[in-house]
Symmetry: C2
């Protein structure tokens, strides 16, 4: 089977590396001359909206997927007329616009922070009155990693926010005083089979490691997250891996956003789960049965931002795996990650300290699901 991937970054690389052992072949379309995925994939050099490049790319493919959610929807639709594109382009549309995304979940009766569309200064003032402060104003499209957004604490911030972001389609969102951020990664097959990984706790750290780790996920929270994600999967007739990020407030979960692709918060599944998110994505889009998401040990993932740590120093710590995406160092660039597994959370924490996890920006911690919660369909 020949699989095409729009985008040849580290996510495309890890998808290909998961599929090659199963005998799959890969081709990526990417405008960069030497993207990370070429270690295990053919490369078509071209822009995503260039029809000649798209035609070269699609020739001989059995199925197409993508590794980033800002794929031009028109290109995805053009390809989908020729070869199946999974996840379906409708999922791209829902994920590319923060207003469409939150409206989508609202229509499924899945809680989100309160939100309101803002196109004019008058809209902004109205949103401040209706939703109140604190809040966050975000551009609806092409925002990521905190870019294109601004938090509003007091009424004085309103004017500044408008100066910085006004004129583009915006969304005004209630700033939720969350206990923690968690994500759920699910995969759905062509025939409707669904598997879920355990809830993942995502700790955003700047400079100093936050030692405060909330209690392990209970089955109630896991079931709640699965219920919410299941609604989205069915509504979109989804195929592939879907990641949904939530704010946890007490025992309530509010959707922050979704990513219709494999997700950074699921990288630990390569070593930490019976089947990785990448292998399950490949299995899903190629019509194969999905694999077990069993997670025998707690696992953590630490992103390497800007530069890679020393492999020798990292691998000296038991339970570590080292991932180098083959990218040149650059500030704020994700150039690799480290997975840490351990028999229990105390040892996991020791190992995280030993690799100096405080020097990295993002830390994801997965806890194994409690007994009885495994392998739901």
């Amino acid at each position: 089977m020949m699989i095409g991937i729009l985008g040849g970054g580290q996510l495309g690389r890890m998808i290909a590396l998961a599929g090659v052992p199963m005998g799959m072949k890969f081709r990526v379309l990417d405008p960069a001359p030497s993207p990370p995925a070429i270690v295990a994939a053919e490369h078509i050099l071209g822009e995503y909206e260039d029809h000649a490049a798209l035609a070269d790319f699609v020739a001989g493919l059995d199925v197409i997927t993508y590794e980033f959610e800002n794929v031009p929807v028109a290109a995805a639709r053009w390809l989908a007329e020729r070869v199946p594109v999974y996840p379906p382009p409708v999922a791209l549309e829902a994920a590319q616009d923060r207003l469409a995304e939150k409206t989508f979940f609202q229509q499924l009766d899945v809680p989100t922070p309160k939100f309101q569309a803002v196109d004019t200064r008058t809209d902004l003032d109205a949103a401040v009155r209706v939703i109140g402060l604190p809040a966050v104003v975000k551009t609806r499209r092409f925002g990521y990693d905190g870019k294109g957004q601004m938090a509003l604490r007091t009424i004085d911030d309103v004017e500044t926010a408008w100066e910085r972001l006004g004129g583009r389609p915006l969304i005004y969102e209630q700033l939720v005083p969350f206990d923690r951020e968690v994500s759920l990664i699910a995969a759905r097959g062509v025939n409707g089979q669904v598997v879920y990984y355990p809830l993942i706790e995502n700790v955003h750290v700047e400079g100093i490691l936050r030692q405060s780790i909330a209690p392990a996920s209970d089955l109630t929270l896991q079931s709640l997250a699965e219920d919410y994600v299941r609604r989205a999967l069915i509504q979109l007739d989804y195929v592939g891996v879907l990641a949904v990020e939530f704010f946890q407030v007490g025992q309530q979960l509010l959707v922050n956003e979704m990513a219709p692709r494999v997700h950074n918060s699921g990288h630990w599944t390569i070593e930490g789960a019976a089947t990785s998110q990448f292998a399950n994505h490949v299995r899903a889009i190629s019509g194969l049965p999905l694999g077990e998401t069993r997670t025998p040990c707690p696992a953590a993932m630490v992103n390497a931002i800007g530069t890679l740590p020393d492999a020798e120093a990292v691998l000296r710590i038991p339970g570590t795996s080292f991932h180098d995406y083959g990218k040149s160092p650059r500030p704020n660039r994700k150039v690799g990650h480290i997975t840490v597994t351990a028999p229990d959370l105390a040892v996991l924490d020791e190992r995280l300290k030993a690799i100096g996890a405080h020097s990295f920006h993002i830390r994801t911690i997965c806890r194994p699901r409690l007994p009885g919660g495994d392998e739901k369909k």
Copy 2:
């Protein structure tokens, strides 16, 4: 780091697929036009004794390894004058000749079946008198998978054996009435760090699945095997993965043979162990610390011989992983393998039955080591 592999078959492929995520680059030398490893490695097309090809191959490499033990020793030595070759060529020499191999272990005080060199018909008659029957006569070099050997049950077989095999350097070995065949896979780093995987039980099946599975390895047997293998590793100043096959007779272990490379009986480690044999081989030869060999669940590996089974049917069984080496089907050719993991041996056996393991030729079963036996150095 740029790693060269002599041979681009499925073992080279799995070595490269284990190293690429760590940022390693690979180049294989292989006389076949499109060997399995090219999915993740550059390919130099050439014979192993062609100095022009060897010169092309070695240019820019940091370290060289090999994926089969019949690499010409002269080529390995020529390369080793230019770039480190691991495992060391002396290990190749010991492994390529059955007489040298058994003599090597004998000198280390490691038990083997009784053996004697046979160069002439007179030698053969002498060996029959001294060692007795039943026995097996083998060519000393280039035998594998039962080729180049013949079992002798009665005195009448002696003449037939001489007719078939005589004239080449032979070895006469006592035919040991073993309880089972087991193998131990170890890895040793440049700095002398050693890790061992749990003992693996290898069941050779023809047509019908043998349901008789001997009791799980105890720590005594594991320690005995580790002690024997440690002696070989130290004597050879070994770097990389070494596999040693034993006959188990009661609580005694007799060395059958060794392979100075990653081994078919260790393929289950990709899914079944914290660090695969392939990742540990790459870590060893590139001077990195070795990874944990922890094996949380029992695992089995089933070779696909001749043709691949249907991926969809296999992956429908929980706990299975499908490996397709990208080779065209051919009788008696290893074209892929399936790994099965399970929470316990009873479930493992059910799953093996479900994938129809009796239609495959070789089945390897790994049992997790008993508590307290993990992570010895």
